[in-house]
Symmetry: C2
Subunit: 295 residues, 2 copies
DNA sequence: TTTCCTTACGCCTATCGTAAGCATA
DNA sequence: TATGCTTACGATAGGCGTAAGGAAA
């Protein structure tokens, strides 16, 4: 196969068009360079240079291969530098999954700071349900996950509770209870609920169901939707009421929906930061350092 | 420096994620491969792989460098094939210069056939005055030139007379002599002429002046223009008359201009095919083979 | 005779293979 | 004990240098 040493030797000869001068540049003896170029031509199966009394000239194939030599060596050099920067966390891709980000200004702020601090790092941000996030994290498709529950089992996943936020009842402004300052959950035993779907392993869904059961009823779900902001939309349209984290109230202000705290039940839901301890990338660490300051 | 052998060895390990299997693929002993990868990592100054009890895994820098290894080897392979095709005349660039091509259907036909026969060859066609063509040919900026005279001197330029065409007088249809079947040149001693400019070394211009002098006068030039078809335009507008090769009459039919043969003088002008015998490209030869059949 | 590339041939060192070492399950 | 990577060390061959060869001006 063609070694890069041969490419460098060919470049020297092609640029000097003089074996002796090229050999000087390469700090080697001229006959050895002749041999090297002969080897190269033999390996390629094409004559690259024409040598005669008038000197050395590039043949068309030689001119074409010179371009190749330049690009190959250039790309290799670039690749080396790229790999160095990746190892230092200057370049690379950081994939972050999260539940709806809009409710957490400190997270948006950290993302913005990260982009400023590491402009060459491509930030991939994916909003998805907690269960999907957990799979992505374990599968190596995500580096950092902001989700609703502790994934449990997998021993290479580490978690940290970032915050514990109250659960609010979202009501249409037209709802009978819309003007009460606080809500008694048990008053909603017969209400129509809109809910996120029950996905296997979705701690969020389970927590809300458990909350209702503690209040003495099992919620009647009239409509499901994946995204919390879709739920809010459904509430606004009068489909029913919804239980949502307090952060939603901050990000989804609407004149058709009101958010009311619950009384009589201990109702809160956590937001957990999760990461894979086997992930060898230095990028999550860099991100955590910025996150620490924003919290 | 990083040799391509190291790249291939790294690719094998990165794909197998198992030193022994990779060594088998490379037909070498496993310890030697360990050493090779260690050398690579040392040369790069970055760890590419993580080896421990659980096996071998790619570090982020390793994943990045794997991409580099693929592209570098791929580009090298492509470059080798490209050089081969260039040497065979399948790929490359063929630059042809010519006087106005429109009058020579066989030339257009050959160009079309060449494109069909060698679709990967980029045909560069430049129309320019003969003197400029000669310079381009000597300077290596053109491979083949169709021009009006023998460039002389330069001993690495070879010429061939392709055809010798009559010179016609172009007249406005309103001209007094427009309805004569043939023209006596000496009758135009006092006529207004439009002419190509006198460029140093332009045999074409000299030939036409000599023609007039043989008829006993020096033409009064009222307007100059570079391009023959511009001259015809000027004739149509009534600027004067012009002497042009017969091929122009074929390509520039106009109801405002008539072309008349000259009587009483031996008037013809050659079209010469010229090429540089030092040109190592196989493309001109391929072109000539097609040209031969079209003539 | 000088210039400049190639051929001939011996030497050297980078790379390889074999064998031993070491950690883990 | 088996697996799998590394270290140690002797063997080898690809590539280099010196010297001679050959063609042209």
């Amino acid at each position: 196969m063609i070694e890069t040493r041969l490419l460098r030797q060919f470049i020297a000869v092609a640029e000097e068009l003089h074996f002796h001068k090229a050999a000087l540049r390469l700090h080697m003896a001229q006959p050895a360079l002749s041999q090297a170029i002969n080897r190269l031509e033999e390996k390629l199966g094409v004559a690259l240079l024409e040598r005669d009394r008038r000197g050395v000239r590039l043949l068309p194939a030689g001119a074409a291969f010179l371009e190749t030599a330049y690009t190959v060596l250039g790309q290799l050099q670039q690749g080396i530098e790229h790999a160095l920067q990746v190892s230092q966390g200057i370049k690379g891709t950081l994939t972050i999954t999260s539940v709806s980000i809009a409710g957490y200004p400190w997270l948006l702020d950290t993302l913005r700071q990260f982009r400023l601090a590491f402009p060459k790092v491509q930030l991939v941000i994916k909003e998805m349900p907690s269960a999907t996030q957990a799979k992505a994290l374990i599968g190596g498709d995500a580096d950092i996950a902001f989700l609703r529950y502790l994934p449990g089992q997998a021993d290479n996943i580490e978690s940290r509770l970032l915050l514990d936020e109250p659960i609010l009842m979202a009501l249409s402004v037209d709802h009978a209870n819309a003007h009460e300052a606080a809500i008694e959950l048990k008053d909603f035993a017969d209400a129509d609920f809109v809910f996120t779907p029950q996905v296997l392993g979705s701690g969020y869904h389970h927590q809300l169901i458990a909350l209702c059961e503690a209040a003495g009823f099992y919620p009647r779900v009239v409509q499901e939707a994946d995204q919390l902001h879709t739920l809010i939309g459904l509430v606004a349209c009068g489909f029913g009421v919804a239980l949502v984290p307090a952060s939603m109230a901050r990000s989804m202000s609407s004149d058709k929906v009101v958010f009311r705290p619950l009384t009589g039940v201990s109702s809160s839901i956590g937001l957990y930061l999760n990461w894979n301890t086997d992930n060898p990338s230095p990028l999550p660490g860099n991100f955590f350092a910025l996150l620490e300051r924003a919290l």
